[in-house]
Assembly symmetry: C7
Homo-oligomer: 222 residues x 7
């Protein structure tokens, strides 16, 4: 491509220089300023946790850990309005699956549905959603943990961090992760990682997936 072509592209802003998806890059930049949010998984459980940004005393902090179905929870980082919409989308898909197949949806299908939903917003003249999501659930394949990004990209894994200073948080998790750790150790690790990322003791919301179900921990217990 000649040196003048970025100039051409700039009128129709799907692509920037080097074929970058410029609106998705903006969405990711918004995500990188969101609450520090973490997911962690062993073969026995998964923990999802998100920093509760301090509000004034009379305001309940926005919910950051969402129950999607009995066996799945989700959290996210980015614009709250976008996270809420994606959460609704996940819940609807989980219900639709139960209605059609009379079984709980497997986590991989749910992540792919979210991926495809987000990808659509990158292709048409609308706003790509500015939220990365972490899904945790239990299905016939065991405990599952996924991250889905605004571009529709998704990842499976045992540890994810998104939002503000997520690279620091991820570093902590990676170094101290232990496939045999207890649920209590994992919660401690998650808190430590968020604290390290923020440079101060945060309030966090926590959800736990076990073989049986997804549960949010009461906020006061964290």
């Amino acid at each position: 491509m000649s040196e003048s072509s970025p100039n051409f592209n700039s009128r129709f802003p799907f692509y920037g220089p080097q074929g970058r998806l410029v609106l998705v890059d903006s969405a990711l930049e918004a995500v990188s300023r969101g609450s520090t949010t973490i997911g962690i998984r062993t073969s026995k459980f998964a923990i999802i946790s998100s920093q509760i940004k301090p509000t004034h005393p009379l305001m309940e902090p926005s919910e950051k850990i969402f129950s999607i179905d009995f066996h799945v929870g989700a959290t996210g980082s980015g614009y709250i309005g976008d996270i809420l919409q994606l959460t609704d989308t996940l819940r609807l898909e989980a219900q639709r699956h139960r209605l059609n197949y009379e079984t709980p949806i497997d986590i991989d299908s749910l992540a792919k549905h979210l991926s495809s939903f987000l990808h659509n917003y990158t292709t048409y003249a609308v706003r790509p959603q500015a939220a990365s999501m972490i899904l945790a659930g239990a299905d016939q394949n065991g405990i599952q943990l996924y991250q889905v990004d605004p571009s529709g990209t998704f990842f499976r894994g045992s540890g994810f961090a998104i939002g503000q200073s997520s690279d620091i948080a991820l570093d902590v998790i990676t170094k101290e992760y232990n496939a045999d750790m207890t649920q209590a150790d994992a919660i401690k690790l998650v808190k430590k990682a968020i604290e390290k990322a923020l440079g101060e003791k945060p309030i966090v919301e926590i959800g736990v997936v076990t073989q049986n179900s997804f549960n949010k921990l009461p906020l006061e217990k964290t």
Copy 2:
């Protein structure tokens, strides 16, 4: 993202620098110039109140406290035309719920409906609505108070302030809030907060939620 990319984004104005939602920021800027508006809640009641901007003597001030259903009231700050549309949306949803389920809608569902309605306007090539709303109602979970913003973000809490100098008003409320105060104390507190915010004695409209119902106070009584 390279330094030239904000330039790229600027052609398709969903996102500004740092992934800001530029149109939502404009809408919020309009809200920050609206009437100072407050919501307050205890376990026994909720008060919503909004400054009545002085008009000429022959003009009745615009209604700022809206009855949504027997058990829910709302107020808002921003463009009146936008507030009126959102109010209609809330009333319609409350009626739809009654028709479908033969029970009054719970306040959380109503706030989420409004959140989703507003979020839609942030994603397509239309105008995000320039109004923040405060909902107060009573349902099976007790007295509820919500704030919903143009981005679709919503909050639950015991005290909110939106509109002009809302940070000052919120400060007053936060300092003097008392979970055991009487309804009369609460009304006094709300008036004091708006007065402090505006630097002058305002006229305010007031609505009260109790376990039984939502009622607007007659304007002359305030």
Copy 3:
């Protein structure tokens, strides 16, 4: 919002600096150059009146006072084509109400319908209508007077002025308004206010609402 954001917004012109609705501002600017138009109300009657802009001798001036239903009249200021469309909208809504409920529409419902109709044009990529309207009518709540603006904002009151130099006209009305005045006094007052605003004796068209009905006065009688 940073100092560069107005620049961002300018590409997508719903919002201007400080969250202004720029197209609605243009519409209001057009209204402010329209015929000086007044509405006045007591508990016994309402008068609506609009300046008839001088045309050449062989042209009948455009109608400015419109009969909407037996019990409602309207006038407006701004582009005549826009006023005519809004008048049609009002008539249609009044008829629809009669067909559905077999009762005359109440004036509040009619004003809200117009408000919602106008608000729609502020949200999508179309032209907000450049006309403010004054509605006067009689219903079970007595004599009613409303003003509805291009943004969809509406007001109830006893005295309104819109169009060219409306602030001067409103000033006259406000000072000399008397809730006990006779219909003849009110008509004199309205004429005086328009004359003051324009700095010359105008021709005006006048409509009168009483408990029984809306009537236009024959133009020669004014």
Copy 4:
């Protein structure tokens, strides 16, 4: 509105400075370069007449006087393609009325239909039509004459002039109009006005409305 706002508006070109409808202004500018066209009315008849722009000898001049229904004729000034479309619209509406009500359409309804049709083109992202029309007809209220402009504005009267140098033509008409003149006098007056406007003897097409019907005069007779 601040001094920078015209700059804002300029991106979305419905409104120009001072709330002007810029596309309608362009349409009117095109009309002002069209054929000089006149309508005149007494209680006994109406004459509509339009200059026939000289073409080459083998081309019949475009028809400028259109029969709409037995009792209505129309003429216009502006782009011929636009005039033709508006003429079709008028004919269709007149036929629809006959089909629905089994009576000839009254001229006021016909003018309002055209007004509303034209107004639509001023509100959406399409081209406002560049033609002003003059309608003449006879109905239960006697002989009627209307002018309808690209903005949807319409006028009733006894004398109109549109198109090139229409102000000069209107001046002639206004000065010499006589409510008791004969049809022959009126035709002479119309020709004189067009001649004065153009500064040369024009060829004109003429249509005549009487109590009974609308008729075009044969071109050779003028």
Copy 5:
């Protein structure tokens, strides 16, 4: 209109300075570079003829004279793709008329249909078609000849020329036209006019309308 308004209009390019239809002007400019094309009519016959632009020897020249129905032929100048589409439109309309009314379509209706079809492309955000068409046919009113332009304007007459140097060709036709000439004289005249316009002996395609039918002359006979 102020001096800044052309600047305003330029963003929404339906209208240029002086209310010009800028896209239609471009279409007409394309037409003015098309094949020189002529129509001529007497009370006994009509001839339509278009220059065949020289191609390489192995390519048959594009057909320029089109049979529309037994009694109608057409030719055009401008982009061939556009001419072909308009020809299809004419054929379809002629067939539709036969199906609905069981009579051949009259030429005036056909020309008006084409006019209305072309006019539509001038009003919406699409490309006005770059072709002028000449229609010739025989109906109950005798031999008919029409020219229809990209704006939807149409003309009736006895002689038309469109395309390259059409003013020169029209000049020849106008000077030497004779209402009593024979078909052979007319064909000679048409050829002479095209030759004069182009400054060289052209190849032309010719179609002939008589009272009975439309026929294309075999190309070799011309």
Copy 6:
């Protein structure tokens, strides 16, 4: 048109200076860089042939000669994605004709269908397809050869060349074409023309229409 009008047109890019179709010109420019492609016809057969651009050894060159129906073949030059779409369109139309009429489609109808399909893309705000096509087939009128361009223009003839240096290739064909030549001579001529155009011995794909059917020659035989 004044000297400022290109400036106006440039905002709405259907037309460029002199009424050029700018997007179609771009499409044609892409075609002019495509594979050199030739069609040749006598009364007994037709040959279509396209240069196979060298690829790396493990990649089969893209098919350039397409069987459309038993009696029709096609080739094209331009973007391969566009050629493939047009080929599908041709096949579909041929099948539709067989289903509706139970006869093979005639080549003229097929070319016109393609022409109309391509023309549509020049009129709306989409991308005109960047491919010229050559169709060859046998029907009741004998052996037929057509070229269809991105503008929807089509040509019939006995020899066509499109793509890179097509003018050179066409020159060779024109000079050496002989209506009585054998199929073997024609194939030789086609290869020679492409070789001359490219300045090197090309690999070509070849399709042959005879009275009975269309067949692709096996690539190795060429």
Copy 7:
């Protein structure tokens, strides 16, 4: 085309200078930065393989080899969100074929379906997908290997490389390809080519097509 035409085109960015498809060029630029990805084929088997970009230890790398149907696999390079969507499209088409025809889809049909799907995105005002895909499968014609690009172009062959430094990888493959090599040799060759392209030993994912089926090799085995 004159030297000013690129300037014209630049407003409507389907085409750039020389008729380039500018958005497709951007998409291809994104592809050229994707994972190095290879397909290789002999008459007995096909191998598809893609570099697994290193992630952090707790994240499973994104799947790059996709099972489409029992007899088909696919891989791709570019944006993962786009690859995932295209993979879904392939799977859906394969299932639809099975449902309609009760046979496995042949690979050529599948590649053409993908080609047509991608081509659509190049023609309308949406984002062309930024992914090139390689399909490998077995059908009645033996082992098949295809590459499909964002423009909708597709290729058949025995060796393809896409993504980062694909020219280096392709060079290795081309030089060392041997139609008689064993599956183990082919896998070694593929790994070597990717290693050469990247300048370091990569992790790769591998899928194998044999006469009987498509299978992914377990990642640890590579």
